[in-house]
Symmetry: C2
């Protein structure tokens, strides 16, 4: 934030900014011009020529009626998303149980607007996705931080105890978790859902809550790990959020979505901005969903590079946290910021997520991954990791 | 809101919905399948074949990098928007003074998140755009309703008095106003800006506010009516919002924006969701801005139909409110709902905005406008208007 160059005398200090926003800086990773960008967990594979062509055609078709407002309900897109999720859920999800918005951040914001707000709290298990507390803050929802264990896992009893103690309106879980890559066993999710239901049974409607499992990276999970979607029939207060930014290569298209009980989707209707999803967003997302097979092929390629990073970082003497995502938390370093800078000097951008001793790297293409591993090997000769 | 068919027992009544949202129904005009849709102030002219083609090409180009996150700052788009506004402002507006989001509703929501919130209020002069109080509600901002005069105008002294009395954090003005079509003289805007600055001078930083002039329909204003943009140099607390939904025929693309002091734009950065504008939204909006001349041609055609509606409704014995927009408030009827239904029976959809005695109609194509006027003449033989 620089002082105003408008000569108006107005500044953040003289404006009536909300008190709880004072001193914040805007969220966002540095957008640096670097050859190997492995800092924002993007899918390194651009869409195929066929998909690019299909997106252009779908957009042109959408443009012929762009003078009209879009389908406010995005019915066709929600039907396609429900059909896609059926494979992971094990049962069909009709459009009334699906909701979509401009990125999963907007989905999460709508959840906080509907169920959070002044006098209410959201509870998360950190370290986790740093937007969860920021979205809570922006919606004037209080935030309760529960620490994960030393290995970044959550015990079911610990989750239930925290929820019973704090009676949050919203519980955030993430699986696989960002920035650690940790997948949650379903018994943690089930324990959280049971605890919010128990709170409602004991304390009444407003003492209950909803449980959000942020599955942004679900498609990258290891074989045999079930999705929280499978718990929807037994956990009505469960919301599973997803994104098309990662597996579907659509970070630039901004499409997040969720599956939940239809009553929860009804509640989100009360806070969504009308016509929030453009005709282009709807058309592009549907086009990508029609290319699911091709896009999930990139997921397999990325998983190969992820597992390669795990093996090679260990071979270099480093530690890695087991990952079900398209990124790896690696370390530990006496000074992770120095390692981050040394990698940047070698034209490789990773993420310092603020976890002492650790850095996060996205699994890129084979070439990008090789560039990272070569740079890291070089850096570690000067800045060795802490021995386990 | 129907009861949940999921068999879960969950419903809006048993969920911990925010107390102030209970009993609401989702915002939105009926989306009915009717030949002549004149209910949501859309531009009736679809984009030209040339623009459709350009949008398709721009979208395909954007798709080649859609695996990467978009430019979080939308710098190029904001530069284009600032260049476009210079004609109405009378001076250039650099990107740091421009902000854009998914529809002006999201722009307004970000303003409420930054400057409103718990314990704060927004003040509007009703009847006006009904989303203003709804966005205040969704962001937990209190709402103060000041009535307009019988002719739907606002006196500068009345505006200043209300602002001094209530010390709102946000003042909403709309010019041309929806649903009345009324343009605000600049002395009203200047008086509001002076009053919020006086509140800050007297009561300190948090007693001050910002003044939002919602100029969604500005391009349709009558010749000689200045934009509030011209006041930006003398009113640092002024925010002028615009949309590409109307004059630019992009209702389906969702692009709203604002011009303000750069310190205000800095504040919005603290609440915006990162990467909120997709690569497609940015590309489509820039493509339309490159076709400004063509699109503003549709504005002239619409103004002809608007002025025709004014003349012909008066000739039919009805009353109209002077309009600077692409719609007309007409009446007055003993039962406006009966007239609305009778028009719908004749395949013409207009808007009952909840103002006793009045209905709102959008100026359509020449053919749509003729269909409306023919239907109205027929209806008025059975349901005559109240004589002035």
């Amino acid at each position: 934030m620089t002082p105003p160059p408008d000569g108006s005398g107005l500044s953040l200090e003289t404006l009536p900014l909300r008190a709880d926003l004072r001193g914040l800086t805007p969220y966002g990773a540095p957008q640096l011009d670097v050859s190997v960008r492995l800092n924002t967990n993007e899918n390194p594979h651009p869409p195929s020529a066929g998909l690019v062509d299909a997106i252009g055609k779908a957009s042109a078709l959408a443009a012929t009626e762009v003078n009209r407002y879009p389908d406010r309900e995005a019915e066709a897109l929600r039907a396609d998303l429900g059909a896609y999720l059926a494979a992971d859920a094990g049962f069909p999800l009709r459009p009334g149980r699906i909701w979509a918005a401009n990125g999963s951040n907007e989905v999460l914001q709508q959840i906080c607007q509907a169920f959070g707000g002044p006098g209410r709290t959201a509870l998360g298990f950190t370290p986790s996705y740093s937007m969860h507390p920021l979205i809570a803050l922006a919606t004037a929802t209080g935030w309760i931080d529960e620490p994960r264990g030393a290995d970044f896992t959550i015990r079911p009893e610990a989750a239930a105890d925290a929820i019973r103690a704090h009676r949050p309106s919203i519980v955030f879980l993430a699986s696989p978790n960002n920035p650690t890559g940790t997948a949650l066993p379903l018994d943690v999710v089930a324990a959280a859902c049971a605890a919010v239901a128990e709170n409602a049974a004991v304390g009444g409607r407003d003492a209950g809550g909803v449980v959000v499992v942020d599955e942004a990276y679900a498609e990258f999970r290891q074989a045999g790990v079930p999705s929280a979607l499978t718990l929807l029939p037994s956990c009505p207060r469960l919301i599973v959020t997803r994104t098309m930014s990662k597996a579907f290569t659509l970070a630039g298209a901004r499409l997040g979505y969720l599956a939940a009980d239809s009553a929860i989707v009804d509640a989100l209707h009360l806070v969504r901005l009308p016509y929030h999803l453009s005709v282009f967003t709807q058309a592009v997302a549907r086009t990508a969903l029609a290319h699911t097979g091709e896009l999930l092929g990139t997921v397999e390629a990325i998983k190969v590079q992820r597992d390669r990073i795990v093996d090679e970082v260990r071979a270099l003497g480093g530690q890695v946290v087991p990952s079900d995502a398209n990124f790896i938390l690696f370390g530990r370093f006496p000074d992770q910021a120095a390692v981050w800078s040394a990698l940047l000097d070698r034209d490789v951008l990773v993420r310092d997520v603020g976890l002492t001793g650790w850095l996060r790297v996205t699994a890129g293409t084979e070439a990008e991954t090789s560039a990272f591993l070569t740079a890291l090997a070089d850096v570690l000769t000067h800045l060795p990791p802490i021995r386990p």
